[in-house]
Amino acid sequence: MTRGWGGPSRAEPGRGWNHTVASQTRARRRTDLGRYGRAALAALGDLWRAPGGKAAIVFLAGFVLIAILAPVIAPYGPFDRVRGGDGRLDRLLPPSLEHPFGTTNFGRDIFSQVIWGTRRTLSVGAVAALATVVIGVNVGLISGYLGGKVDAFLMRVTDSAYAIPFLPFAIVLVGVLGRSDVVLVLAVASLFWRTTARVVRSQVLTLKERAFVKAAVVGGASRWRVVYTHLAPNVVSLALLYGMLLVAEAVLAEASLSFLGLAPTDSVSWGTVMFDAFTSQEMRTAWWWALFPGLAIMMFVFAISLLGRAYDAVQGSRRDVRL
């Protein structure tokens, strides 16, 4: 990649020279935030216009909407045991109009479980991705801009992060710290920042040779100001993309751990529904139980990979296929 996506941020430098120092700083912070915001909007705009981008964005927005509106959409609670007209539990009913995804051996409505599960799956995924991207972007910015020994050290750490296989690491972390969503976020964030760090670093290496960065340095900007005011807004689009890809990765990680029975059992996610289906020994009859939650995961991850392809179409780039 030789060019920043959308080019350098065109935001004006802080124009607070005739105000007091305090208001100068305030004005500067505002314009800094403005730069990040504008860069993010430009990136989203590019994706929207890219082939396949619209479909992916609409699809993902749909998932987010389902997560938010879960209480409205889901006919039952995730752990409600549904009884039929004669007062008996509706056990293992195949999909019907009343139960579009069928029911479990405890008479739970799988459609409702998948809808409620969207909430936990997406929120865990989003938090994990955010934490990971924040680490990755900062490592990449600092490593790329400072260079030298700092860079060498940080890149060796990045190499080690690549060396550790994720799932055994996450399993061990659960074994040591217990079953919780915090442990899951920790597991994802402590390894997956590696790819974001690498791509941001290589982007920074080309950016720091550009005139607008050199001008800032000559103008007396401090290191941190150069990094966080001038460089960072130009990697926002990359951060956004890797953030999205990481949501998919985190969702898969959450589902895998849940499927292995290593997630907290007090709430529902797509993975825990699969776990229940698998351990129930009822799969011979209840094909619907495993089918629908998995389908939800597949569609979500597929939509994110569409977004990745749209990004490649905008950039004319080829990314590492795995994070």
Binding site: S160, P165, F166, W287, R322
Partner: protein
Amino acid sequence: MALARYALSRLALMAATIAVLVPLTFLLFRAVPGDPSAAVIGPNLDPAVQGVLRERYGVDEPLAIQLVKYLGRLAHGDLGMSFQYKRPVSEILAGKLFNTGVLVVPAIVLALLLGTAIGALTAASRRSLLDRVVRNAAFTVKASPIFWTASLAVLLFSLRLDWLPSVGMRTPGQGDAGSGLAAIWSTDFLWHLALPLAIMTLFFMPEPLLTMRTAMKENLHEDFIELAQAQGLRRRRVIYWHAARNALLPVVTLMPALTGVLIGGQVIVETVFSWPGMGREIVNAVNTYDYPMMQGVFLLTGLLAVTVNTVVDILYAYLDPRVRLT
């Protein structure tokens, strides 16, 4: 000469990574609330007995001494005693490693062969429909969580159609088929292997396939391909000899990034099919609080991953001389 230097630098990096991995593994398990021996030492035990047990597990000493002792035992291949089996972890894992190997090695080979072949075929094909179908199928497989595909396969082929077994490596009562090659040289074993192997292969195939396809497409526009065509070589020879050979390089580079993914897939497939390998053992160890076992499996997988990556990197430098210069 350059290759030797490159190989040495890769080996040094491998040593450095292992030097980080080993203490990390040790320290990770000191993060257990209390200490790991709490899983076997009940709080109601006689304090004197507790003291004796603590001494036996070596958890009463300062952390630094524990680390040194841990490293010393490790140097002798001693991974500690499993809480659950009351046998040395290394002894148990040797068998499990073999069981994992007989599933994962054929899966890698098959996935690489099939993936690169299909990737090359679709890239060279002039029918864009075939290309589109294959590409989208690959993306769909990639987006599907492996426990889902595996569960659906069990559902269809084992539970519904009753064609293939869904559990274990051999039919119980068939007797232990012995060890080594004899253990896997039986139709019963192959019959049990078929479904998990198919799932692992399918899971692993999209990456080499997509990479090969992209690399082929790019290569077909390169000068040396046009030269070969201009020299009047047949299209088929140009594509499968000149372009495909060079497109294999990116597939090789892909491998290190995939070891982690592959190991994760293996853990899940072993769980779904109750395959008695290392992946199932680590999940089992978490459920039974068998810390020495967890530690052993984690360390062994880490070492395996680091070794494989180093070997692949050196192999790549051997295949593509440009790498050695950087």
